[in-house]
Symmetry: C2
Subunit: 220 residues, 2 copies
């Protein structure tokens, strides 16, 4: 197909496709003339993946490039692909020279140890958890990492299901793409459903003495 058809199929504007071609995150089409190229279903799928990571996953072009490089590298296993996607989702937090940070970090390590989770020492998610817990503590909430246990239970339930969804045989390309999509797009899905469930449960608990819930938030 021509680039105009590729654009129509993916809803990605032609100038954006050309930008991705120049940036090297979308491979060129097959040349059928000096300035004409044709594209195939592989290009459609790759463009949809790029848009998913950019629009829904809100990843930078640099992060998308890093993920796609791992997807295309035959040497990347499904397990490594998950790690690569996670690293692309967020860098490590700072604050390591603060004694309060250090104490919270030790507490998070113990909490994860109690859960029996084997995770790498430098995983960005571990440091993000330290930062969130330290912030909660400074605000006067959450005296202990153990307060996070309900979050760990919910997170473990969904992560176990997600990992079970990954194929352990069949084409590698399909498995690693699934790992990426699940890791990145699972986040907005989980967060959106948590917010909706909060609204539902809050209405059940507090609904009697509040305004009409169909009216949205208080206007400003």
């Amino acid at each position: 197909m021509r680039i105009s058809e590729l654009s129509r199929r993916t809803s990605v504007p032609v100038p954006t496709i050309k930008y991705y071609l120049r940036a090297g995150i979308l491979s060129g089409g097959r040349l059928i003339g000096a300035t004409q190229a044709v594209y195939d279903e592989g290009h459609v799928q790759r463009l949809l993946l790029i848009r998913a990571l950019a629009d829904v996953g809100e990843l930078s072009l640099a992060s998308i490039r890093e993920i796609l490089r791992a997807v295309d590298d035959e040497g990347t296993s499904v397990h490594e692909m998950l790690g690569t996607a996670q690293y692309a989702l967020g860098e490590a937090a700072d604050g390591q020279d603060d004694p309060e940070w250090e104490a919270t970090r030790v507490e998070v390590d113990e909490f994860l140890g109690d859960l029996g989770w084997q995770v790498t020492a430098g995983a960005p998610a571990r440091l993000r958890l330290v930062r969130a817990l330290l912030t909660l503590r400074r605000l006067g909430f959450s005296r202990s990492a153990r307060d996070l246990h309900p979050y760990a239970e919910a997170a473990h339930a969904i992560a176990t299901q997600e990992v079970a969804w990954l194929p352990d045989r069949g084409p590698r390309a399909e498995a690693v793409e699934r790992a990426v999509v699940m890791t990145v797009l699972g986040e907005p899905v989980l967060l959106a459903l948590r917010r909706l469930a909060q609204e539902h449960e809050s209405a059940r608990r507090f609904g009697d003495d509040t305004a009409d819930p169909t009216s949205g938030p208080p206007s400003t």
Copy 2:
């Protein structure tokens, strides 16, 4: 306390505090001279809340202002506070004029109906869920909203616990601040723990045939 002490107590630089004062999201101190003001514990707590929303919640100044206005408005109930915090976390997604979007929106409505969740029609989280599901579908994953059921279960488990944590008596100010902190900071906590649980479960399932998990992601 003087502004220098306020800065020391909160780890927020003096110029940033002055910026918040000018922007009107932090109320001024008590004047003790032409150019000198003193601040109290209320300022400490408010500054910590602002930094939590900005740094960990990654909210804009406009969103923080909207949240603080609701926190300070005696007319905002805990239930309304949750809604305000959720609206501040994310605006509605676009795409409403696309027939594929419309079909996905109807399917999400039915899915939420099957779950028995009472949520407002225009809730931003509902539209974010539509966008994520539509993206998954275009990529060839998730043929039906029912595939999201494990996410809904995990989300409902944590949301139920969170709403139960909110006090239904005692000072209103404390309850609404707790609602804000829980809604906003619960997200990075849940996501960080999901990523760590994924790593743990993936290592259990795929660990035998992959590289040393302590080596981090494949280097680029």
